[in-house]
Each structure stands twice: as C-alpha cells, then as structure tokens.
Amino acid sequence: MKSPKRWLSPAADDHPTPDLSQGGGRVQGEPFVRWDDENVPDTESAEIPTTPTATERRGSQQQTSAVSPGVRNDPEESCQVVEAGRSHRPRPALAVADTSESNREDSSAKFLDALNENQLPGSVPERTPESASVPEPELGTDELLPLPMIDDLIVTEKTTFQSRPWWTPFKWTQLPEVGEAANDVRTAYGVGTGVAALACSLRGRRHRQYAGPNQDAFDIGLVKVDENCEFLVVVVCDGMGSAPFSSYGSSRVASLMSELIRSLITSKNLRDIDAVEGQLRGLQSQILDKMTREALEARPPGLSIFPTSIPPSESGPGDIQTTLTFAVIQNVRDDASEVSEMEAVIGMIGDSPALNITPEGPRLLENDQDSSGVFSTATNGAVGASAWRLTRTTVGEKQPLLIATDGVANYLVHEGTPTRLGKYVAKQWISPLPVLEFIRDVSFDLASADDDRTAIMIWLNRG
C-alpha cells in the first residue's frame, strides 16, 4: 500500500532569514523540500554479502572491482530542492565513479569530466530571483506534486555506510546514552551588516555507529560596539577523541571563547580589526587561562555529563580537551558600501583550519602539515594552552572564508592541491546558498570521512 505523500514544511516566506544577533536559526522553516515516496531508494537491493564459503584454494584470488556488491551507486537518483520564489532547480547527481578503483562508466563520470574542465552543469546555478514568475502548482485534493529527494553528494562511489538508511536494523546509526545530546544536526545562519554567515555541524559516522555524540561545536554571533562598528565572531571546536568528555569541552570552550572575545571588544571599545588583533595577541595567555579555568571549574547547570564522573578537583584539561579556531571579522559599516572586502583575524590551536574559498579552490591559510609519506595526525589542545597562532586574511566577493573541523577540511585540500570535493565546494560555496543545500554538501559521502563535521561559511554580503 502506498504511503501518503506529504509536505514537510511551509513556504519559506513565512520564515525570514534570522538575525545572527538573535541567535542562530534552525533547519526548520527552511525552503520546503518535497519528497516523493516512489523515489525512496530500494534499500532491499543493498544487500550486505553473507559469509562466504570457506575454501582451501590459494592463489586464485583476483583483485576485484572496488564497487561493493550490493552497494547502490545510482547517480541518476534525481533531486530538486524547491525554494519559494525560485525555480525548480534540477540537482545533478554528484556521484563520480572512482575511476582508479573501478572501471565503471556511468553518467557520474561525466561529472568528473565536467569538474576537471571547470564546468559543472547545473550544480552551480546563478542564484538570481529570475524564477519569481514560476507559477505555483495547483493541487487537487487527492493529487500532490511528486516530491523529489535531496540526493547524496557522492564524491567517489556510494559508501557501504550510506547504502542503508539510518534506521537500518544493522544499527549503524545509534542514539547515545541518555543524558548526552547527539547533536546530529546543528545549524545557525543569518546576516549582519554587510556579512552573511552559515554554519552547520553534523555527527560523524564513527560516533553514529558507536553511539557517541557529536564532539564538534561552534558558536557564532555579532558584537556591536555602536551603530557604526560591528564584528562577527565565529568559534569552532573539535573535541578530542582521547578526552572522555570532549563533547562537553568543545561546546563549553566554543561558548566561553565567544563570550571572552565579545567581552574583550566591548570592554576595551575596540573599533578596528588592528586593535582587535593587537589585544588578541597581547592578552592571549590571560584569555586562555581564564577560558581554561572557567571550562574546568565553573560548570553551568544542565551540562551534566562532565561533572557526574569526575570530581572537579580531579579533572584536568585532558578530560575535556578540544581544538580551537576562531575568527573575528570586521563587518562593513553599511550594506550599500562600496567596500569590496572585510578584514579578518584568525586564531588557531590544533587542526581545525581556516580556508579562503576561491574560484580556483579552497586555500588553507596555513600550510598543509601532512608529510608526503604515510599520513599521520597530531593535534594540540586549547584547554591549558597559553598561546594560539594568529593570522590575518580578507573576506571578499570572490573570496569567502571557511572555518571548519578536520572532518570537512581534510577532504578539501591535500598537499596543497584542491581535492575533487574541494573543487566542487569552490564553485558551490563561493556565494551564499540555501541552508538545506549546505547541509547536504557538508553531508558528502566519502569512504573514511567518518569524523564529525563542522563548517562555517562567511561571505561579504551587500544584498
């Protein structure tokens, strides 16, 4: 029996873009998306291989295709994100056959060709209101428009993990224990004066599978010094897996750092980015010390995970350790300003990088630390640290800023070269985009990309 089709949310006109100063918005109230039950992937076709028969033959194994048996790789699953007042944009399937591990040739390979030629048909449309004239559909009482799916953003081939819906009885996505929020999807977005920002944090596959929470956290908001002076403050933290309460630590440090920076700017009446940088450089030790003490000692009620297991007297930085990256951007003074770029100061402890998104690809503000040999990671923590690395950049019309955790950034640039995903992002995120598209993009499907993911985009926005 066919299940009823449904509308998931009302028209976007009822939900104006929130002001960042009022706190971030949520997915709810975004441009509506319509689902078509007929287009739901046939999960029964994605069988996991059963135990093979034991044999004693040897030398007969041949390296086989990298395409897993039973794993769907259907780039033709179509998608339309429908936004009120805009055209129905066909979303191309972004699956790209991994030509290095398989010889599959399907339509997704065309995407790769287009990508290599800097041509992404349909994937980076002009975001103009030209489609305001699209007539509203007339709906009968028993007939609704087909509801298109949001297709996966598949970087190479559909992964095993993604081959099943989250509700699969295999329990590949598990809820964490009571008392700890999973934070599967968090988002905040909105505009300030001359600036637009969009943030998204997703629980990674590893934590979904092992019933852990999202250990990434972010904070984003405006600091208004007066009518003519405004800063955007963005903080991203990636809780370290070795710390037993890193999800607490990352969220606590993100909010504390945001508050400390805001307090620094307002209390010292800082009115330009050079003054902010000077204070952040001169007072870094004091700020980090205060943040550490607050994070370890002044635990707010409601965050119960941390205090229940370790008495305050026995806890240390290693219990809540996290990376820290923040950005302070001086917003343009007027939406109609002719200013073509905004100045930003970035502070970093650990491996959550800042990147400029350029038409050529994402560009790390610090060099990729990977060696050319086998890959390894080493991360510093912010709790208990006494210094951060400070750098400056600008946010321009063709150069928005991305602050991300390594769950995203590791897959955008490798050894100084934009990856396949990085080239896509350079086109897709070069200007503000609908929130659901951004969440879809951050949800990219790539084997081994199993960490939590957080990305915050900051654009110069002159309306």
Binding site: T51, A54, P69, S100, V374
Partner: protein, 222 residues
Amino acid sequence: MSMTQAQEVLLFYIACDESVSMSQNGGIEVINQSLPDLHAQLVQDPLVVDKSRISIIAFSDSADVILPMTKATDIPDMPGVSEVGGTNYGEAFRVLRETIDRDVDLMKGQGFRVYRPVVFFITDGEPTDADWENEYGLLMNSRYAPHIISWGVDGADAATLQRIATPKMKAFLGGADRATAARALKQMFGSIGQTIVSSTGQAGGQIVLPEPPDGVVALEAM
C-alpha cells in the same frame, strides 16, 4: 591519474605461517576456518569496509600473496592455506616489503591518504632461515615500514616474537603445546578481527591493541 580525493585508508596484512608443523598442531585447519569467520566479521562493519583494505600472505619455504589488497566486501571467497615446508621468516618479510611498497604507492597514486600499514604476523615456530633478520631490517627501514603485531603458538619463541613486534605494538604468545595451540590460534584470530574493527573506528589511524585472550600472554616489543 585520478583527481586527489584525500580519502584515508588503513591497510592490514595477515602473514600466516603454513609450515608443516602448523598442520601437525591443527593450525592449518584453524586458519582455514578462521579466515572466513574473520571476513564475516569485517563485512558487517561499514567503517571497516569503507576505510580499510585487507591482504593475506602465506609463508613457509617461500611466501605468496594469497589475497591481494582488497576491500572486505569485494572478497567473494576467502583463500586458504595448506601445509608446505619450513618456516622461512625472511621470505615472509621480503614479500611483505615488496607488497606493502607496491600497495601504498598504488593507493597514494590514486589520491588516497594512507596510514602506516599494520601486519599481523602469525607463526608456530622458530624461523628455519638463519638470516631472516636481514630481510626484517630491510622491511623496517623501508619507506612504508609497517606496524607489526606478532602472534605465536606452539613452538614459537617469545623473544623472537618480541623482536618482530614493532615499538608500541605487542607480541602475543599462547598455546604452548600442540594440544592447546589450535584453541589459542582460534582466539587470536578473534583478536585480530577486533583489532581491525576497533582501529578503523578510531581517528587518525590509531591502532587499538586487543586484550590478550584467555591462555594468551601479551609481551612488550623489544
């Protein structure tokens, strides 16, 4: 060459002793039972499937790659081992070096980020070749020198296993006689599976060593 994708991958190599003595203590039979069980365990974990590749090398007088580096779900039928000759460690380490070198280059050439490979070295006796340490040295000084976790039963020597295990890894020794070797070996395969599953569930290519099964002791690498 494909566009870089920065996908991370962990490479696991299982080096199985298939010398005559492994037949006498039931080891050959246990390996041939355990490899399909191991495969069944690995394909059930989507992170293992998506993030790792498995290879199996059998060694006796010579060494052969009986399962080239493969994604778990792409293995239609696990290979087996059969009783052959002596216990030539040097051949095992030579083939490991050549195979790892080729595999890592292949994966890096395809745009993968490759973590340091992990070798599970399983044996039931002392090496029959006197100069095995030369090949061991070449392996450990190679570009992609792997982590090695050594596993020994029956006549395996604790000091030799500790010598083979690499820093921060361990040597596991159990089933000190032929009567108990098969049972210990079976348990070791369970631990190997758990090591693969746990390690692929970690960030940053961290290797999670298992607790030793009952009757098996864990020894520090020397």
